[in-house]
């Protein structure tokens, strides 16, 4: 059957559907014409006209049946049926407003919550990378062969250059690293471009010149980098993000070729990337806005120790991840043999670029999706119950239809059609709710941990999946009632007087099963949410070890191009602390290389006097180190337990001193007094031990309280505080204590710092309380979501169970009436109801606990892996309380309507037929 066939049939179908009256009239005319001619023929043969007509009709064998047969040949009657079912369904929905409203509300909530989580899933887990053929892009890490937890280590330049020689499976390699740029204030009128705004600190990336080619993206204005622009000493060039171009350069087209100053250096802007281009994606708290060529010195290019690069590559078409992994592993093994000293322990790890920043959310959001799916399932069970209840009242109508010849399949189709109509009517506003919910999620989500969430939205794929979910929901909640109700045998139901006295047995069993299932699912969700909520609140009460109130923090990073020596750093920050200290209303000012809990300290190897420096990696021989000024402990409220804190007199030239925390003292010296002991620093932990140079010894002068440096739910690391004066750093946090709200002094601080150097931006301005809140933001967000879904499930289940119980008991009024009239005491009837409720709740609780058990295990493991957070076991109180509460709630939902049924006059109940 070719196209030609459709040419004839499609117009016919369309005509049958939309010109039904005309088509039917033609059919009528055609058959009547036949009868008339046949009658004439018969008359011509000598019959009487009446007789002739009768004979013609008999030959036709029933005019109406023939018409119907002809109509059925049109192949579109199912559409007619569907239309009729929908109209009928609409009428039913209008007639039973209360029930419909309840069902629609529950569906809208369920679909809405699911849509919101779907769009979050899409933003976090299934985003499409804004590059050409992103499926062939991979990132490559160094993998520790001796320590499997080190599976994503950045790459040493010499290794990267050796990998690049491989041309068999990889089309091209590119490398990059994050940089930061302090954009200076530049006046627009002076020729070179730049906003007039305050100096600003932006995130940049130094990238190999072929990066854009590897990604397959062209600049929207100007050009990409050219080979050779990464030669050390050549003038610097830069490419801007679209956002930066609009914000800072007002979208001027003459920006290409203009210069701008950043980090005390002049950059020539060569291009602007298109809107929506982002690189890198994931892990960074804000987006990169400037790309510059990655410049590697010859010393760096030869280094296999400095792991400073992130590497990505494009696979040749058709090459699998496993092939690439195999090929590059062989290269790594060769390098390990050639350079055993540096490369013995390093393999390679190749991952799809699309997985970047996805892994940590996959498990957590998978679980969340299941939770929100359960909410929808509970809504489904409720609606199924409502449909079942309504269906039983419609049993007579269905039976009459069956008696008139409707096939069972036709009845099922009708009932399911009504169900799907209901699900669409609830689901479409539900998707609207979901859109709103997505906005809410994007707003609630911690921007630092989940930067991708701000791109969340209900786009076409989400919309399609949500619509599919709607349809699935409709099928799901209408299939069981439809199967049950369509089974009606004509005699049975028609003989029953009035309403079904106790509903059909099958329907009763289905109803009980649905209620039991709801109890089980709700309880399982409640137990999971209870577990995580309990952990959350217990962690929130943990003492941080410092006083975050009324402290403002802000960071200044001095560019090495302008401030090249440690002496200059010291001078700048000493002056800054001094200036800020004189602001009226400021009660304390200090600087530190990091604020408590902000994660900026450096991690160093060390050894104590009398022990040799360790070469291998060992928890005990590394310490977190912060350089601070004298006021630091006072401003942050960190208590000095032994000896003294750092003093203004611990300056350069004086003996080098350090203050350690409790954990350090306990780990290194046990109960002995650490004051007066000496430690030796052996360099940064990320550099090989051989590279570190052991500096002069530090004398421990005091011990301070432990603080929760790595977050509320992590153990405190060993920490030392050294004097900023004796070991200056270029990037410091300024901490300012005020008597009242600390936000008020920020403007004044900015202007005072501007007096020292107007080109240096102040960034990361936030109160210490915000730093602490940020630290728990993701955990808080996750706990909130899970709890909200559990509460939704509980409410839905409560409403649903109450409604179905109230209905079931109202159906039994007659039975109760008879029992009461026959002398049964009311409490016996109540006991009857209770017994049934008890059975449902006990089975529900048992199944719920059985479901919750492995789920909580999974949740605990997922949270551990993704948030590095150990959930606290809820123990013996919360679980039984939640189980008992759920059971009691169900009993109440049964007893309340039962009691009201008891109160009725038995005679009235009997008469109400």
């Amino acid at each position: 059957m070719g196209m030609e066939h459709w040419f004839y049939t499609i117009p016919l179908r369309v005509r049958s559907l939309f010109r039904r009256g005309r088509v039917d009239a033609e059919l009528e005319e055609e058959l009547r014409g036949h009868i008339e001619r046949q009658t004439e023929e018969n008359v011509a043969r000598g019959m009487q006209p009446e007789e002739g007509r009768r004979a013609a009709l008999i030959a036709m064998g029933g005019l109406e049946q023939r018409k119907q047969q002809c109509r059925e040949e049109r192949r579109v009657h199912w559409i007619d049926d569907l239309g009729r079912d929908l109209v009928y369904g609409m009428r039913m929905m209008r007639r039973e407003r209360g029930l419909t409203a309840a069902a629609l509300l529950m569906l809208a909530l369920g679909i809405g919550a699911n849509t919101a989580i779907l769009s979050a899933d899409r933003a976090l887990l299934f985003h499409r990378l804004p590059y050409n053929e992103p499926g062939r892009l991979v990132e490559i890490w160094q993998k520790g062969l001796s320590d499997p937890s080190v599976d994503r280590m950045t790459v040493a330049p010499a290794n990267y250059l050796d990998w690049k020689i491989d041309g068999q499976v990889f089309e091209a390699f590119a490398a990059w690293k994050v940089t930061t740029l302090n954009l200076a204030t530049v006046n627009l009128t002076t020729g070179s471009l730049g906003g007039d705004e305050a100096p600003e600190r932006v995130l940049g990336a130094a990238v190999s010149t072929n990066l854009l080619t590897v990604l397959g993206v062209e600049p929207v204005l100007g050009r990409g980098f050219q080979a050779g622009e990464d030669t050390p000493g050549r003038g610097s060039v830069a490419i801007l993000s679209y956002g930066m171009w609009q914000r800072r350069f007002a979208g001027r087209r003459d920006v290409a070729g203009a210069t701008m100053r950043a980090n005390g250096q002049t950059y020539t802007i060569v291009g602007v990337m298109p809107e929506g281009f982002r690189f890198p994606i994931g892990y960074l708290s804000s987006e990169v806005e400037i790309w510059t060529p990655l410049v590697l010195t010859n010393v760096q290019k030869a280094s296999r120790k400095d792991i400073i690069l992130e590497v990505l590559a494009r696979l040749r078409p058709g090459v699998s991840l496993a092939q690439a992994q195999g090929s590059l592993s062989a290269v790594a093994a060769r390098l390990a043999r050639a350079y055993p000293e540096t490369n013995r322990d390093w393999g390679v790890n190749i991952m799809p670029l699309a997985d970047r920043g996805v892994g940590e959310f996959r498990g957590l959001f998978g679980l969340l999706s299941v939770a929100v799916g359960l909410v929808l399932l509970i809504a489904c069970a409720n609606v199924a119950n409502l449909l079942l209840a309504r269906g039983l009242e419609r049993q007579k109508e269905l039976t009459v239809r069956a008696a008139l010849g409707a096939k069972r399949s036709r009845l099922i189709r009708q009932l399911m059609g009504e169900g799907i109509l209901l699900s669409l009517c609830g689901g479409l506003p539900g998707i609207g709710v979901g859109w709103w919910g997505t906005r809410l999620l994007a707003w609630l989500a911690p921007a630092r941990e989940m930067p991708e969430m701000k791109h969340a939205g209900v786009d076409m794929p989400v919309l399609l999946v949500a619509l599919g979910l709607c349809l699935l929901t409709g099928v799901l909640f209408s299939v069981l009632p439809a199967l049950t109700l369509s089974r009606a045998s004509p005699q049975g139901t028609l003989q029953e007087t009035g309403r079904a006295s106790s509903g059909s047995r099958r329907a009763g069993r289905l109803k009980a099963a649905l209620v039991t299932g709801e109890v089980a699912l709700t309880l399982a969700l409640l137990l999971c949410a209870g577990d995580i909520l309990n952990s959350f609140y217990r962690y929130m009460r943990v003492d941080t070890g410092f006083d975050a109130s009324h402290v403002m923090t802000m960071r200044v990073t001095l560019p090495k191009q302008k401030y090249s020596s440690p002496g200059e750093w010291r001078t700048y920050f000493s002056r800054a602390v001094e200036e800020i200290g004189t602001i009226p209303g400021v009660t304390g000012a200090a600087a530190g290389s990091g604020a408590p809990m902000d994660g900026y300290g450096s991690v160093l190897r060390f050894h104590t006097a009398g022990r040799a420096a360790k070469v291998s990696f060992d928890e005990r021989s590394i310490t977190e180190s912060l350089g601070i000024t004298a006021g630091y402990f006072r401003v942050t409220g960190i208590e000095v337990l032994r000896g003294r804190g750092l003093l203004a007199s611990d300056t350069e030239g004086k003996p080098a001193v350090a203050v350690v925390n409790e954990t350090f003292a306990r780990t290194q010296f046990g109960d002995a007094n650490p004051v007066g002991r000496r430690i030796f620093l052996d360099g940064d932990v990320n550099e090989s031990a051989a590279a570190g140079t052991t500096g002069p010894p530090l004398e421990i002068v005091g011990v301070v309280r432990d603080i929760k440096e790595y977050g509320l739910f992590r153990t405190t690391p060993q920490m030392i505080y050294v004097s900023m004066d004796q070991d200056p750093e270029a990037s410091m946090v300024l901490l300012v204590k005020t008597p009242g709200k600390p936000e008020g002094v920020v403007a004044e601080i900015r202007s005072r710092l501007g007096r020292i150097d107007a080109d240096q931006p102040v960034y990361n301005v936030r109160s210490l309380e915000e730093v602490v809140a940020n630290e728990n933001a993701f955990f808080r967000f996750y706990t909130l979501l899970l709890s909200v879904f559990a509460v939704m499930a509980l409410l839905l289940a409560l409403i649903g169970i109450y409604a179905v119980m109230a209905w079931a008991i109202s159906q039994r009024r007659r039975e109760f009436g008879i029992r009461l009239a026959l002398g049964s005491p009311p409490h016996r009837i109540l006991a009857l109801v209770l017994r049934q409720a008890m059975r449902m709740s006990l089975i529900g609780i048992a199944v719920g606990v059985a479901l919750a058990w492995p789920t909580i295990e999974l949740l605990t493991r997922t949270v551990q892996e993704s948030m590095i957070l150990t959930l606290l076991r809820t123990g013996a109180v919360l679980y039984p309380a939640l189980c008992a509460g759920t059971g009691l709630t169900l009993l109440l939902a049964c007893v309340i309507p039962a009691r009201s049924a008891m109160g009725a006059d038995p005679m009235e109940a009997l008469r109400c037929e």
Binding site: M1, E4, G33, M60, E73
Partner: protein, 111 residues
Amino acid sequence: MSKPPDLVQGTLDLLILKILALQPLHGWALSQRLKQVSGDVLQVSDGSLYPALHKLEQEGWIEAEWKPSENNRRAKFYTLTRPGRRHLEQEAANWDRLAAAIASVMRLKEV
């Protein structure tokens, strides 16, 4: 006299297509033509004719057109379409094969 045998399944379609291949006809004329050509051997009831016609039309094998008939009454004339003609050729070939096969079986003699 025994009842004439029912038409073999699908044969009515074949007959209709074959007759329409000769000339466009309306329903009544077609029924007269059927009786005329097949005599009393194949009795096609007027009742089964119209559903069959409508089915063939919906399949796209024939198309219909309202035209004035011989005595100036409006009637629905059916014409074979091009796909219908191809279909007829196929079916006719099938029929020939079937008939030949059955005939050859019937020619077998008891020994």
